[in-house]
Each structure stands twice: as C-alpha cells, then as structure tokens.
C-alpha cells in the first residue's frame, strides 16, 4: 500500500510540473501576440519593443520559461493581472472559494442523484419504465448547460420571481444577520447548483447503471443467490459495493468535467468564481489571469485524482493488502 501511495504522489508531482510547462508553451506557441492588449496600432516599432521589454517578452524563450516556473514553484507567483493590476494569485484566492462552494455542492447533488438513479435503473432493467428513464436521462445530459441556466432564470426568476437571477448574494448582503445571509447565499445557489449538478448526474447515473448491471450478471452474485442470501443483501451489500469500487475513480474522472461546467454556470449566473474570472480575462486579453486560472484548475484536477486514487487503494482490499494472485 505504501508503495502505491508513493507512486501516486510522485506521479502527481511530475504531472503538475508537466502541465505548468504545457500552459507556458501553449500560450507562447499559439498564434497571436500576448502583448496585444497593450499595443496600439499607432505605435512605432521602438515603442513596441519597449512594451515587450516591460512585459518581459524580449528575453529568449527558455529564460522566460525559467522565470515563470521559478516564480510559480518558488514564490507562488503567477504574475499580475493586466486588467486589475493585482497579483493573479490574489484574484484566484478570492475566486476559488466561490467556485468550490458551487462545485462541491453540485457534486454532492450529482452523486446522490446518480447513485439513486443508477441503482433504480439497474434493478428495473428491461422494463419499459427503465427504457423511458434511460431516454429521459439522455435528453437531460444533451441539454446545453448555459441554455438550461437561462431557461431556469426565465422561469424561476423572471417569470415567477422566486429566486435571484445571478450573483453570489444580494447587493445589500452585508446588512443581513448571520442566518439571513446564509439563507440569501443558499437562494442564490439553487439555480446554479441545479444546472451544474443535475444535468451531469444523468450521465453518471447511466454509467453506474451499466456497471451495476454487469456486476449483477456476474458469477459471484449468482453464487450469493445460490447461498440463500436475500435479494436486498445481494444487491446492496455485494453488487452495489463492487460496482461502486471503480466509481471511486469516477470521482477523479469527473473533476475536469465539473470544473469546466463551472465555467459555463458561473458565466450565465454571474457567479464570482474562477470560471467567470477566466472568461472575463479572455475578453480583456489578460493572459496572466488565463494562464493562472488554467494552471490552477489543472492542479486541482490532479489533486482530486490523487485523492480518488488513494481512496480506491484503501477501499479495495486487493491493493490495500497486496499479496495477490496465487494460482
């Protein structure tokens, strides 16, 4: 088990190094000029050179790389935003907690729904209800998330007025008392969490359903039934547990998806998180922010995967104890 943990940690560290490198080179190698924001068409070539020198773009590529990597790894410095003139890390520090709030809540909803839905569908496989549910689930995950968000705003906010249309909290939130503030935040969370959590839950539910069906068809479930165990015990204590085992790694697989989904949701609901920060930075051509946000999101994914792998190692006795496979 220790070997497993150490291997995973080393792998994760290397991966982080690699993806920081990738971010750097992608921006440099993509067509277009990172300094574009600051360059006026009227500028003379000398002035352009000055601007580039100021941004550090005149140095050879490997020097720039060294500076950037050194900055990130040693000082945690991701540069300064060209828009706000604040360190990127400080902007991200403000934004990430909001994204986490949204993403974690949405994931909890996602998992709960997916589990329940997956088991429900697997147990009723072959029936017409299940076929209908499968198609309905498919329709749900085919919806464009940003459009779903808009439609929900249309119905619940504009038409019915029950929920706010966007933002993290009401403008006068500071004036509210503790519980009222929490309630206000929750009200603001309902629609975004629904969009982020529910739509993707359909996909995971289908995955769990097929995983569960495969397990239910397996020999050891047959043997369990042959021993006289009740159907409930067979399904919940044996089948679900075994089907969920690989699903623990699903958590890791879903992370990039979830963070990406946050971008869409935050944009539509004006949620002040990492995703919205990145999108705004695009339009402002604020490439340090984009680089920073991209790098950090990838690091979050790697961390999430690492945790999922470690959890899997604990849960599966074949890895936890080693010593497998005598003929």
């Amino acid at each position: 088990m220790t070997a497993y943990v150490l291997r995973r940690l080393a792998g994760a560290a290397l991966l982080v190094l690699a993806l920081l490198t990738a971010v750097f080179f992608l921006v440099r190698l993509a067509p277009g000029d990172p300094a574009a924001r600051h360059l006026d068409p009227d500028m003379g070539s000398q002035q352009r050179e000055q601007v580039r020198a100021r941004l550090g773009l005149d140095a050879p590529l490997h020097v720039q790389y060294g500076r950037w990597m050194g900055g990130v790894l040693l000082r945690g410095d991701l540069g300064r935003s060209l828009q706000y003139h604040r360190p990127v890390t400080s902007l991200l520090a403000d934004a990430i907690p909001n994204t986490l709030l949204l993403t974690v809540s949405a994931y909890a909803v996602h998992l709960g729904l997916a589990l329940w839905g997956g088991v429900w569908m697997a147990r009723r496989r072959g029936t017409r209800a299940e076929r209908g549910a499968t198609v309905a689930a498919l329709a749900v995950y085919s919806l464009p998330a940003f459009w779903l968000g808009l439609m929900l705003i249309l119905v619940f906010s504009r038409a019915l007025g029950w929920l706010p249309a966007g933002g993290l909290h009401a403008p006068d939130a500071e004036l509210l008392s503790g519980p009222a503030r929490v309630w206000d935040t929750i009200r603001h969370m309902v629609l975004p969490v629904t969009v982020l959590g529910v739509a993707s839950a359909a996909g995971t539910a289908r995955y769990l359903r097929s995983s569960l069906i495969e397990v239910l068809d397996s020999d050891f479930i047959l043997a369990a039934r042959a021993r006289g165990l009740s159907e409930r015990a067979v399904v919940w204590r044996h089948a679900v547990r075994n089907a969920l085992l690989p699903a623990v790694t699903l958590v890791g697989l879903n992370l990039p998806f979830l963070l990406g989904g946050a971008v869409v949701t935050e944009t539509v609901f004006a949620w002040p998180g990492m995703g919205r920060l990145a999108v705004d930075a695009i339009f402002a051509r604020d490439y340090p922010v984009i680089m920073g946000a991209t790098a950090v999101s990838a690091v979050m994914v790697v961390l999430g995967n690492l945790l999922a792998d470690l959890a899997y190692g604990r849960v599966d006795p074949r890895i936890r104890l080693g010593g497998g496979g005598r003929p």
């Binding site: 290397l14 991966l15 690699a18 993806l19 990738a22 971010v23 992608l26 921006v27 993509a30 067509p31 277009g32 000029d33 990172p34 574009a36 076929r131 198609v135 498919l138 329709a139 995950y141 085919s142 919806l143 464009p144 998330a145 940003f146 459009w147 779903l148 808009l150 439609m151 705003i153 249309l154 504009r158 038409a159 068809d217 397996s218 020999d219 992370l255 990039p256 998806f257 979830l258 963070l259 990406g260 971008v263 869409v264 995703g275 990145a278 999108v279 930075a281 695009i282 339009f283 051509r285 490439y287 984009i290 680089m291 946000a293 991209t294 999101s297 990838a298 994914v301 790697v302 995967n305």
Partner: protein, 288 residues
C-alpha cells in the same frame, strides 16, 4: 494464455433498437434541414427589417418570431445549424484521427513510446477542456475555423486512451500472439488485426463526441468566440436574445431546443451503435 471459457465475439451487428433509429432519423433530418436551409427560407436570414418587424412573437408570417433587428428566427435557425454541424464534424474528425493514431502507437509500439505518449495525454487530460480551449482562443482572433480546430485539438486525448486500452487488451489475446508467430510486421499487424477491432469503439466514441462538440461550439459562440457576423450560430442567437429573456422568450428558447434536439439525436445514435457492437456474449455464463 488462457485456460477455460471461450469468449465469443459475434462481430456481426444486429439491428438498431427503436430509440436509436429515431436518433438516426433526427440526425439525418437536422443535416438535411441545414443543407437545404437556403431553399427552405425565402428571405435572407440576415436581412434587417423595419421597426415594426422587431421582436414579433410567433405568428403566421414568422412562425418562430423575429429578433431585435426584425430578422426571421426560423430562417436564422435553419441556417444556424450549418455552423454547429460543420464545426462538430470537422473537430471530431480531427480528434478521432489524432487520437486513434496516438492510441495505436502507444498500444502496439515499444514501451518507451507508450510512456511518452501517455504522459502527454495525461497532461492534457488534467486540464478541464474549457480552460484549455479558452487558453488557446485567448491569444488569437476568434473564428469558426479556429473553434473547430481547437475543439478537435483538445478532444483527442480520451479517444487515445480508449484506443490504447483496447490495443493493450488485444495485445495479450491469443490471436495476436498467433499473428506475431507468423512473423508479421507491426504495421501489418496494426492494419489487419488491431484496426478492425478498434474501429467500432472509435465509431461509437466519434458519434457521441459529435453531440458534445455541438454543445461546445454553441457555448463558444454564445461567448462571442465562435461564429462571427454574418455567420449565424445557435449559440450566438441565444446570446443576442438573452437581453429580452422574458418578453421575447422565443429568441432564446428555440435555438436552445434546436441545439438540444441535435445533441440528443447524436447521443441516441451513438448509444444504439454501442449496444449493437457490444459483445455481451460470454458474460461468464457457461453454455453447457
């Protein structure tokens, strides 16, 4: 080498089930409507109308209403499909071609190549795709072609993993050993024995990614990073209409439905193909 139970691949497709046939039908319908959009709409979808034609609700002359500039929504809807479908197909072809090549090379070739390719794949997979796309689009001028290329360039990784996993599984199978025993070259081996097994999986993956590509393109167009005027895209139409969310709901509702319908059709089709090609014989139950 295995001992016991035979796993039998029929290798023959059966028939598509009902839902998937609907999917196929829808796919063809959407494609047909997009291609024939020019003949179906009498007026130029970009033609701006006078003030009295602005923001009309659905009525006999404009079955889906008009937008802020008096343009017919139905006409624009029909034309809008072209952008999405073109981007989707181009990007998927790119992603699939790239992914299959990488996956096969990693799966069949020497171990070092596998290591290198998989590290590269893992690095790119760690990024949430949207961030990667935004990063690539950030420093260039937005265009539909760019969107197609970027979506393709960020989508090959999971295809590569899929293909590699299948190639690795095939490598251990006895018939590959038998083919190696005939002293066949790796290239011949890849072509004659691996590709036919990998192709169905890639087909399923490609069909499902078409739907996802449509979703990505529509979001990027919604942000203004995709189709630029005078090109029409459903995502851009939604963006134009969101300022009048309640009072002119038809501006956002119909394009969104169009996107959903298109994506549903590809997903249904992809599901059907996957069920077809899934060798579920030999699920452990002995035949005696």
């Amino acid at each position: 080498m295995s001992r016991g139970g035979t796993r039998i691949d029929p290798g023959f497709p059966g028939r598509l089930d009902t839902a998937s046939r609907w999917g196929l039908g829808l796919v063809l319908l959407v494609a047909a409507l997009s291609v024939c959009a020019g003949w179906l709409t009498p007026t130029d979808p970009g033609a701006v109308g006078g003030a009295e034609t602005h923001l009309l609700a659905p009525c006999p002359e404009h079955p889906l209403g008009t937008d802020v500039l008096g343009r017919d929504v139905l006409g624009r809807l029909l034309h809008g499909g072209r952008a999405s479908l073109a981007v989707a197909w181009l990007s998927v072809l790119l992603a699939v071609a790239l992914g299959t090549t990488v996956g096969l090379a990693a799966g069949i070739g020497p171990a070092w190549l596998d290591r290198v390719l998989m590290t590269a794949t893992d690095v790119f997979l760690a990024f949430p795709r949207i961030f990667l796309i935004l990063l690539l689009v950030a420093v260039t001028r937005p265009s539909l072609l760019l969107v197609a290329v970027v979506i393709g360039a960020t989508g090959w990784m999971s295809v590569a993993r899929l293909v590699r996993a299948e190639a690795l599984a095939l490598r251990g199978r006895d018939f590959v050993l038998a083919a190696r025993g005939l002293e066949l070259t790796s290239l011949r081996l890849a072509w004659r024995h691996f590709l036919p097994h990998v192709a169905p999986l890639v087909l399923v993956a490609a069909t499902l990614r078409l739907g996802n590509a449509v979703l990505l393109e529509s979001f990027l167009s919604y942000l203004g990073l995709g189709a630029q005027e005078p090109l029409i895209s459903w995502g851009a139409m939604i963006e134009h209409g969101q300022g009048h969310l309640l009072d002119a709901w038809w501006l956002t509702a119909f394009p969104g439905l169009a996107i959903t319908l298109t994506v549903v059709s590809y997903n249904l089709l992809g599901d059907g193909i996957r069920d077809l090609l899934d060798p579920r014989v030999g699920s452990g139950r002995r035949d005696g």
